[in-house]
Assembly symmetry: C2
Homo-oligomer: 128 residues x 2
DNA sequence: ATTAACGTTGACGTTAACGTCAACGTTAAA
DNA sequence: TTTAACGTTGACGTTAACGTCAACGTTAAT
């Protein structure tokens, strides 16, 4: 089992230590303590990675918290498990929507780039 | 040229009229006026669509504003055009990162679903 | 022994992206 | 004609996700 300081993980994932402590008060990380000092495990590291990736995909911290819970369904009862499965399906739909959004946006970037290039060559022709 | 009221577009894109006015003060929409009343064009509608899609992809309003500007590079000078091309490239990188994030997250959802199903069948076996 | 680097808590500030509410004008139907 | 539905501006409130700062403790090197 690896041991990380708050700074180790903060630097690895390019967040501040303040952010790490904030995630803890929000129930997203659960480091152990040695005296006052926080000690993070591999599990905490994985959770942090999920949070960061979630952020890149536009998820809120509350949503990332749900994602983390999906990761570890031990101790859930039948009702909770069904709800988890629903959330998984919901997440899948959201991701598929995002893929479609990205596809469309890429096409639009193609257009935008073409228009930019055209405008540029127009300017260059005027120069000479 | 189509004409839309604030409510038309608000309902179509499921935002409030307050939000539409807010986007205007932020320089993202530019409806014409008839008296006091706002009249939105097809162009405004496209802009709103870009904003909404941007939000689904986790972009801020400031970023969506940039996207809108990419759409319409007329009147930009050479320096601005180069910067636009840079932004386009930057957006592409961001989108590719998102696709990779989605791919990984889908694999993790596969895992999570499997674990949920396993936990469920365990519970069902205990029942009987 | 004293600095420097790192850790802690707690209180308060900040920004984005709206929501809420009051006070008002315009048009359309009953 | 008055009430209902829709529009407006302006001021202020709210939430998420941190940043900033003060005041303090611990360890490690000079």
């Amino acid at each position: 089992m690896a041991r990380y300081t708050i700074r180790d993980l903060a630097e690895e994932f390019d967040v501040t230590t303040r952010t790490m402590r904030f995630y803890e008060t929000e129930g997203l990380l659960h480091p152990k303590r040695e005296g006052q000092t926080r000690i993070y495990s591999d599990k905490d590291r994985i959770h942090l990675k999920l949070i960061i990736r979630g952020k890149r995909l536009g998820f809120s911290l509350a949503e990332s918290k749900e994602l983390i819970q999906l990761y570890d369904p031990k101790g859930a009862n039948q009702i909770q498990l069904s709800r988890l499965l629903e959330k998984i399906a919901e997440r899948r739909r959201s991701l598929m929507q995002q893929i479609e959004d990205i596809r469309v946006m890429q096409l639009e970037l193609d257009d935008a780039e073409r228009r930019c290039q055209e405008a540029l060559s127009l300017l260059n022709n005027q120069d000479h």
